[in-house]
């Protein structure tokens, strides 16, 4: 069996999850400039709702999927109408809104904990854990699913932003709010679409990660940190680059854990810091 191949596939799989979180994070950042510190908690809600559907109620995976999507739409609505809109109406600074997202994240964690319990729950995988062989390496079906779904989502979202008028309009809002207004774009509806898209992507991330690490109200932070790192590495201005950033972080973590164990985390974040200093726009700045 091939050690390199095995490490590579592991890195791509975790990296895809990081990239997915980065994608969700950058959708909001690029349409509103809001740094959403509740992104990890949105993933957490997705994971907890997966537990709620699958383990708590023994629903099918399909019903659970719809429960997750439904709850993420609710979260997006709360994000826009309870947090962002009222604060913007009062003329609050971006700083206040960002702090507000931290508060929202805590409320989501604690609320989820009060409702479903503050434990770590196990969630069964979508496909049983029988490894699939790809040549001389093996992969668990859940990890293969993570890779396939993450990349399909990135491609769909690229298509949405570049090939559909609604997507172009949303980009227009992010480029110039006033310009979008005079073009007749309904800003608030566009933002609703952006927030929903971001929340749904996070929720699917939660759905995918729950069978790997379990569900708990407090899993948000550790996953968000890697998502942010992926976004910074790829380039904050480029929604899709986060995916590349995520894969780089995933693979480097995987190889460093093997060759320089114990230092993997430190090295990963050192790369991120280095990137911030040397090339703050990231590896793939936006085309313009």
């Amino acid at each position: 069996m091939d050690v390199y191949g095995q490490l590579l596939i592991a890195g791509i799989s975790t990296g895809s999850i990081y990239g997915l979180i980065a994608l969700a994070f950058l959708i909001i950042y690029n349409s509103t400039q809001i740094v959403n510190f509740a992104q990890g908690e949105m993933v957490m809600v997705g994971a907890m709702m997966t537990f709620f559907g699958l383990s708590f109620h023994s629903f099918s995976y399909l019903s659970t999927f719809f429960i997750v999507i439904g709850s993420m739409i609710v979260i997006a609505f709360i994000f826009q109408h309870v947090l962002v809109k009222p604060l913007q109406k009062q003329g609050a600074s971006m700083f206040s809104i960002i702090i507000g997202t931290i508060a929202l994240g805590i409320v989501l964690s604690e609320g989820m904990g009060l409702w479903l319990g503050k434990q770590q729950y196990g969630v069964p995988p979508i496909i049983p854990n029988n490894p699939i062989s790809l040549g001389n390496i093996t992969i668990l079906p859940q990890n293969l699913l993570i890779i396939i779904i993450s990349w399909s989502l990135v491609i769909s979202i690229w298509y949405f932003f570049n090939r559909t008028m609604t997507g172009l309009s949303l980009r227009a809002v992010s480029i110039s709010t006033e310009g979008a207004q005079v073009s007749g774009i309904k800003i608030s509806r566009m933002l609703a679409i952006g927030f929903t898209l971001s929340a749904v992507v996070s929720g699917i991330g939660g759905l995918l990660i729950a069978p790997v690490v379990g569900a708990s109200p407090y899993l948000g932070l550790s996953i968000a940190v890697k998502g942010f790192a992926a976004a910074i590495l790829g380039g904050m201005g480029n929604i899709y680059a986060g995916m590349i950033g995520g894969i780089i972080i995933g693979i480097s973590e995987s190889f460093f854990s093997f060759y320089i164990p114990s230092y993997a985390e430190a090295i990963t974040f050192t790369i991120m810091l280095f990137m911030l200093v040397v090339k703050p726009t990231g590896l793939f700045p936006e085309h313009s």
Binding site: M165, T166, R171, A172, S176, G179, S183, G184, I193, H287
Partner: protein
């Protein structure tokens, strides 16, 4: 009357930026709003187009009051505006810039654009045709696939005008469209504006360039310190005492 402004007042704290201003814009005509710096022209513009909430007064578009409505609603009723500064969407092609503005009238939404419905494909094809027609009309067809940072400033201004044309609005508010343009670009703009007028649109324009104004418009409204001091044809305004005084109290309004 297409647009009627009645008793409009806008205060910022103690400062009265626009004070009881009233005037009208006739269908099919080009009307200009002029006045010295700080006379309140842009504030008035922002009040009419829904970016500011006036403290008092009415803005009637086709006899219905549009005050308090969001910009996109006002636009749907037929009033569109451009800004003093160019607000192109960087990172999107010129064609996409125009298509985005034209999109306001196509019936698609988020869900069916994600579901790749055939009706979406059709409506996007129509959008593209319309946007291409507008670019042709503005002599911009050759830059359709370029990005805003790859075209000249004059072309950028035309793109802004293309965007308001794409919205199908009947009344176009233009905030200093000639600002920063050189003589030949200004001449192109005058021609373009006349062409636009020929298509049946009405235009309200704020401009400093008097030569441009006198050549182009049928009616002028003059503001000074937030108040209307004159209203009339270019000829009448040219000889109006108050106006001459307002413009540094000397000579004729230069032409």
């Amino acid at each position: 009357m297409l647009l009627e402004v009645k008793g409009l007042t806008k205060r910022f704290g103690g400062l009265v930026a626009v004070n009881q201003v009233g005037f009208s814009v006739e269908e099919g005509k080009i009307t200009a709003l002029i006045g010295p710096n700080g006379a309140g022209k842009t504030t008035l513009f922002n009040c009419i187009s829904g970016f500011y909430q006036p403290n008092e007064g009415e803005v009637l578009l086709n006899n219905s009051n549009i005050i308090g409505q969001p910009a996109h609603k006002i636009l749907q009723k037929g009033l569109a505006r451009t800004f003093q500064l160019v607000r192109n969407f960087e990172g999107m092609t010129i064609l996409e810039n125009i298509m985005t503005a034209a999109h306001v009238h196509s019936g698609q939404n988020f869900l069916n654009s994600l579901l790749f419905l055939p009706s979406v494909k059709k409506s996007e094809k129509e959008l593209k045709e319309k946007a291409n027609d507008i670019l042709k009309f503005l002599n911009l067809a050759h830059v359709a696939d370029k990005y805003p940072n790859e075209i000249s400033y004059g072309q950028k201004r035309l793109v802004e005008i293309g965007k308001v044309l794409a919205t199908d609005a009947k009344l176009l508010l233009m905030d200093e469209p000639a600002a920063g343009l050189n003589d030949s670009e200004t001449r192109t703009l005058v021609d373009t504006m006349r062409e636009i007028q020929k298509t049946g649109k009405s235009i309200l324009i704020v401009e400093h360039n008097m030569k441009f104004i006198m050549e182009l418009v049928q009616k002028i409204v003059v503001l000074d310190f937030g108040q209307k001091i004159a209203e009339g044809t270019p000829e009448e305004i040219r000889n109006n005492e108050k106006v001459i005084k307002a413009y540094l109290g000397g000579g004729k309004v230069n032409a």
